[in-house]
Amino acid sequence: MVSLLKLQDKTAFSYLYDNYSGALFGIVLKVLHQEEELSQDVLQEAFVKIWRKIDSYDNSKGTLFTWMLNITRNTAIDKLRSIKRTSIQSLDDNVGFVEKQYSHTMKEDRIGVKDVVNKLKPEYKTIIDLSYYGGYTQEEIAEQLNMPLGTVKTRARAALIELRKFIT
């Protein structure tokens, strides 16, 4: 599969799209606050990047899925930041935005998936949201939430351990 992709085989790529576009689109939507049209553009941009960069994918460093997730997330986060640069918005607003977004998603329950992240305690969820969908490092999160870095680290780990329980 990966070797076919590296040859930029369109059939393999089509298979890749069919299998992963849902997961990738889900991330883009969350990062971009469910802006449907913008998210579609970003997903397209991400897939073109994946196509272009497939040759640099190194399977010793992680799965293809994670690699694609990261390219897609970064593309979406980049887009979000370029939009934000025009209207200076603080991270605190963004936290509110993300959280609002979540409650919105929950109410809307778009396609009925159980969002494991929503099962987390709010303080864990905020950190997962900011790092997973916001592209923030733990240092940045600590700075912006005015929280000791140690607390962020502890919560991030606890959150992931909680998540693992839900997943299995």
Partner: protein, 273 residues
């Protein structure tokens, strides 16, 4: 290094999320290689991250696929048009001051130090091997020297016995017409009939020739054996055939293996009792 602290550092999450710089990536990979626990944790985080994405799937509209593949088609064409000129995309890298910089440095330093130490071990080992080989060679040489000396002492003491033996008769054989400067000595034990020959000066025999010792017994030459001139420097007694009642000794040059009767024109040395 405490891998537990490292696992809790948040570095691994950043790695899986792709928020690391190339340097930090190298560090995490280094740590994962050293500590299986780090590797295991990395894998667990990766699965969590993938699961979050899978559980939040939203299928994009069906029309988007065609649109995306058309964009890829354009991309292929533009790449072909620019004849392989690849436009590199900028990956957003979220980077912040790393509290693990020290650890990374330590990890890399550890690799450097261990390769240095290994190299040192290797070269020291090589030096030692060379020294051992040299000593072995020297030792072998000494053993050989020792053996040679022992042999020489044995020979010398045997010769001393012969020289000190009162029943020994010494006969000096002087150079004859063909070789006036030649000289050889016979030590003959009349009791035991043993004949020892010492070559003092004889020219090296030509190819195919060998010296032969004769004893003159009752007016007739008796073969006492052929001999070689091995080393002119060492005085060595060669044991020849035994003889009774010899009146004289002589050496002639004969064909290899000796002759039944001496070639008198080729007589090199002769000594009369």
């Amino acid at each position: 290094m405490d891998y537990k602290t490292y696992i809790e550092s948040g570095k691994l999450e950043s790695y899986v999320l792709g928020y690391c710089t190339a340097e930090e990536m190298q560090e995490v990979e280094c740590m994962a290689r050293i500590f299986p626990e780090v590797k295991q944790e990395l894998e667990a985080i990766r699965i969590s991250m993938e699961q979050i994405a899978l559980q939040n799937k939203v299928e994009p509209p069906a029309s988007l696929k065609d649109k995306i593949f058309a964009a890829i088609e354009d991309e292929v064409k533009s790449v072909e048009n620019t004849k392989g000129k690849i436009i590199t995309m900028q990956e957003p890298v979220v980077q912040k001051g790393s509290s693990w910089r020290l650890l990374a440095a330590a990890c890399i330093a550890l690799l450097l130090v261990s390769s240095f130490v290994l190299y040192n071990f290797y070269s020291t080992n090589n030096n030692l091997k060379e020294e051992v080989a040299e000593l072995k060679g020297a030792n072998k040489e000494m053993i050989e020297n020792n053996k040679q000396l022992s042999d020489e002492i044995a020979t010398a003491s045997k010769q001393m016995q012969i020289f000190n033996n009162p029943s020994i008769t010494k006969v000096a054989m002087k150079g004859q017409a063909v070789s006036p400067n030649s000289l050889a000595t016979i030590y003959w034990d009349k009791n035991s009939r043993e004949v020892y020959l010492s070559v003092n000066a004889l020219p090296a025999p030509p190819q195919g020739k060998q010296y032969q010792l004769w004893g003159i017994v009752n007016g007739a030459p008796v073969d006492l054996g052929v001999f070689d001139i091995t080393d002119a420097d060492t005085v060595k007694l060669q044991t020849m055939k035994q003889v009774d009642n010899a009146a004289a000794f002589a050496v002639t040059l004969e064909k290899v293996g000796g002759s039944p009767t001496p070639t008198l024109t080729e007589m090199y040395v002769m000594g009369v009792l």
